[in-house]
Symmetry: C2
Subunit: 161 residues, 2 copies
């Protein structure tokens, strides 16, 4: 099962290595991981997307809570969260397929951020499924380079006052 976990940590040497070590030590493969500063420069937020058994994840969460650098651990469920990632995709372009490529860009509300005679670089954001769908559509053009941030997530706000 695919899990999205958000971990608040104090910004100290070695915390990333210790947290990722906990996952790999139990054979949990990390699909993506992001870590960056929050509004408090002393605190970072890590978002981990990982695939594995619920039971093992519970054990990892318990171990995470024991680390002195870990402030908070939260696992998101599908219903409650906004999940987004960003991808930069460099695609081959020819005079013949340029218009078709631009229509894919428009449909997915993506942006062309760099242009050369032979390639367009596209910036796109969305959830994991949207990014996978775009990559599938762009594959026939020829993807020359791809870099993805991995997902970040935030809980949806309650819709009542």
């Amino acid at each position: 099962m695919r899990h999205t976990i958000s971990i608040l940590v104090t910004n100290e040497f070695g915390v990333l290595s210790r947290v990722s070590g906990l996952f790999s030590g139990r054979g949990f493969n990390i699909e993506s991981l992001c870590v960056a500063e929050t509004t408090d420069p002393g605190i970072s937020c890590m978002t981990i997307v990982s695939i594995g058994e619920e039971r093992v994840l519970e054990q990892i969460t318990k171990q995470l809570h024991k680390l002195v650098n870990v402030i908070k651990v939260h696992e998101f469920t599908k219903e409650e969260r906004i999940e987004r990632e960003l991808a930069l995709i460099k695609v081959q372009v020819t005079a013949e397929n340029r218009a078709e490529l631009l229509s894919v860009v428009e449909i997915f509300k993506a942006k062309v951020v760099d242009v050369s005679p032979k390639s367009y670089t596209i910036e796109i954001t969305g959830d994991h499924d949207k990014i996978m769908a775009v990559l599938e559509l762009l594959r026939p053009f020829g993807i020359k380079e791809l870099v993805r941030t991995g997902s970040v997530a935030m809980a949806r706000s309650p819709k009542t006052k």
Copy 2:
């Protein structure tokens, strides 16, 4: 000095822990790190933004090359790269400041992705400086939550055939 480094690695247990351990072991603080799959599911791309001395980074790069899981290491220079990150920002909103908030969203080509009676969640992409500028402008409204992916980077394409 701020460095942006891209590392291609094989997708195996423990590689993230070993790579981040190399940085922390030499006192190099990681400002942000992203790791996600490439078009080849067996290979991941890590993007690390780190602050420290050039001399120490050279030592780290040498050590990185010695790790069996590391395929390629590339340090970007300011001139050649497109750098982007994504942020989700939950901001307090009132009847009085809603219009002002929406004008900030429009100016920065951001998107409102979740709405509740008391808060708006904004999705924004840009380089590090743009994200910092937006956060500065949104601070007076009251930032309730912030999650950032950290930067990914890609080399610009040559502009001649």
